[in-house]
């Protein structure tokens, strides 16, 4: 039996709710009745739920599992390191991973790949890992997709975890894709919420889609492991428990046979990215409303005064007013500082999705009705070139 969806023309009243609800644009109204475009339908069932007259029926094909899921057990976190330092997103993943592992009643493992990195294994145990698999070899000093993806894919096939979490970093997003392709399993990008469905043990992975306009909950129901990359700063870091007990498993690689087709020739630091905006407690961001690149001088003055970092909207970056490394939003960084000050940023959904988890949002804008002003904790209506200098003066008085 194939998937089937039928809209009863008798029952359909042509209200169009299903048309606007369908995330895939698969439903349209023809002659006052809803019609499904089977090329686009993904049988998600959203339309069935919203139809007020129960005109839509859907039957989903029962498909057999691709693997014997009972063989897969345990939650894994890929312990990403860059230049020998563990990325902070790893500690966030260990926190969430521990919660998922507890809920499934399984263990939490971390996978550490690098060179001269073994000393970091205990840190991962202190942050909640029960087991740490360590691959420590000079060949692995710098991240390259080939060896890293081979190691992780091989270990997954050997040990069969049910869940593998990775940071949605440039590294994570690049080689997680290769691993999932190798072992034929599902990979959900950029997750912002993770939960276990107790009945099926499936991981419910929620991520933004369509530029953050909607959230989609994704399952990998028939394949294992369930792989997900997770955004920074959506989960709190796992607390440190000094001297926590865990198992460290040292693994070796065969340097002669490991696939390694690219050559790492060097790292060149971006001096303007000295302050990593993902880690900042205070961010002052500028957008199109600055009017010109000079506006960022004022933004930087306020940021420096507050000990914060400078952020930017995509509009400002696209206008070449500031480097891309400062961009906050869907195609830039996700941030969640204690204070986010949005200056001349109207608040397109793509920007909002990258900063809306900030504790306090302060908006400065002439347009009182723009989305940023409507959602900020404190909205300051007026000319930012008058308000920001006034704020700077006030703070200097403290």
């Amino acid at each position: 039996m194939a998937n089937k969806i039928v809209i009863s023309a008798d029952k359909c009243v042509g209200c169009g709710v299903c048309e606007t609800t369908c995330p895939f644009g698969a439903i349209s109204l023809k002659d006052g009745k809803a019609v499904v475009d089977m090329e686009k339908c993904r049988f998600c069932g959203s339309c069935v739920d919203v139809c007020g007259v129960k005109a839509i029926t859907m039957q989903k094909e029962e498909v057999k599992d691709a693997v014997d899921k009972s063989l897969y057990s345990g939650v894994w976190v890929y312990a990403e390191q860059r230049h020998g330092e563990i990325s902070s997103v790893v500690y966030e993943l260990l926190n969430k991973g521990a919660e998922l592992a507890k809920s499934l009643n399984v263990s939490l493992s971390a996978i550490l790949i690098g060179s001269n990195i073994s000393s970091k294994a205990q840190d991962l145990i202190n942050r909640g890992a029960d087991k740490v698999y360590v691959y420590d070899d000079p060949i692995l000093a710098e991240f390259q997709d080939d060896p890293y993806s081979c190691i992780l894919a091989d270990l997954i096939e050997e040990e069969k975890p049910e869940i593998v979490l990775m940071g949605a970093t440039n590294i994570g997003r690049s080689f997680a894709s290769r691993v999932a392709a190798k072992i034929y399993t599902g990979l959900t990008a950029d997750c912002m919420a993770l939960e276990i469905d107790q009945e099926t043990r499936n991981l419910m992975q929620t991520r933004p889609a369509f530029g953050g306009n909607i959230m989609a909950t994704i399952l990998t129901p028939r394949h294992r492991p369930q792989m997900a990359t997770v955004r920074y700063k959506v989960f709190k870091e796992a607390p440190v428990q000094e001297g926590r007990k865990g198992e460290i498993i040292n693994k070796t690689i065969n340097a002669q046979t490991i696939i390694n087709r690219t050559k790492f020739l060097g790292f060149f630091k971006d001096s303007s990215a000295d302050v990593n905006i993902s880690d900042a407690d205070i961010i002052v961001s500028g957008g199109r409303g600055l009017g010109n690149p000079e506006g960022f001088k004022l933004i930087r003055e306020l940021a420096d005064l507050l000990g914060g970092a400078v952020g930017a909207s995509r509009a400002a970056v696209d206008s070449d007013w500031i480097a891309y490394s400062h961009q906050v939003g869907q195609t830039g960084r996700t941030v969640a500082p204690k204070i986010y000050i949005a200056c001349g940023i109207s608040g397109q959904i793509q920007h909002m999705v990258g900063m809306s988890s900030s504790d306090i949002i302060i908006a400065i804008n002439k347009d009182k009705d723009c989305p940023m002003m409507q959602t900020a904790t404190y909205s300051l209506a007026g000319d930012l070139y008058e308000i920001i200098p006034a704020i700077i003066n006030e703070i200097k008085k403290i």
């Binding site: 998600c44 306009n213 990998t220 020739l265 960084r333 009182k368 404190y378 007026g382």
Partner: protein, 261 residues
């Protein structure tokens, strides 16, 4: 060199808005465009051809309407275009999409560098490029912001990272996903527009690429969409209006009260 570039047609996302009353996605008037990141991939492919010679073939997987994206790619310098399309591909996730595209590329035969945009603006996964490389058993470099050198059998590129860039040398054939820093895409020339009009788009269906139907489309997709919802909106707070000086005083007072500064 036979250079390939993989593109995707996406909704022009700036037009995608939430209906304030129903809280659902407004689709009226949303035009289909080439994924903005893919425009940089097309431009870089054409620049590489102009440097080393050869031809550029542009590939997309999608419905028949995606042909317009391919013609647009020809108007800016691609030589040939392939539309990989079949009902069996409908509902594909990134795995099944990568399978169909890589299987199609295998039927094309010899190729040098494959370009992709770093991600598409509708799904934002950045997964298809690296997955296609894996399925073709070639290396890839993601987030490429500059090609430094092209040799006979290798290419040296800058890979953008959060803290700067890595310099990576990859053998050819390989796949590169590019970021927007890499170039400024050209505007189609009159000659290009004529070529786009006349171009014959090669159509490849599941049978033509010898695809295993069990691995395509919804059936071949490991991930499934369980539900879709509108994200909870942050509630608005306090509005300050009037003289800049007064506003600043009130704000700083608030921040002090809350021990934020």
């Amino acid at each position: 060199m036979h250079i390939l570039v993989c593109i995707k047609q996406v909704p022009g996302t700036t037009n995608v808005q939430i209906d304030p009353e129903k809280g659902t996605l407004k689709r009226e008037g949303v035009e289909a465009i080439i994924n903005p990141f893919d425009e940089y991939a097309i431009e870089e492919a054409v620049r590489l051809k102009e440097k080393v010679g050869g031809k550029v073939t542009v590939i997309t997987m999608g419905p028949p309407q995606a042909e317009s994206a391919l013609r647009q790619a020809i108007s800016v310098g691609c030589d040939e275009a392939i539309l990989v399309g079949d009902r069996a591909f409908a509902g594909a996730d990134t795995w099944a999409t990568s399978y169909a595209i890589s299987t199609a590329i295998k039927t094309i035969g010899d190729f040098g560098v494959i370009f992709c945009g770093k991600q598409a603006t509708d799904g934002d996964t950045a997964q298809v490029g690296p997955s296609v490389a894996e399925m073709l058993n070639i290396p890839h470099v993601a987030y490429v912001r500059k090609i430094e050198e092209v040799g006979e059998n290798s290419i040296k590129v800058q890979r953008m990272m959060e803290d700067g860039y890595d310099l990576i040398e990859a053998p050819v054939p390989c796949l590169l996903t590019v970021v927007k820093e890499i170039n400024t895409p050209r505007i189609p020339s009159l000659k290009g527009k004529m070529a786009a009009k006349k171009a014959v788009i090669k159509q490849l269906n599941a049978q033509a690429i010898n695809a295993d139907i069990k691995q395509t489309g919804l059936a071949g997709s490991p991930t499934q969409v369980k539900k879709i919802f509108t994200p909870p909106q942050r509630k608005g707070g306090q509005m300050f209006e009037g003289e800049a000086q007064d506003i600043a005083v009130q704000l700083v007072q608030k921040l002090k009260e809350n021990r934020l500064i």
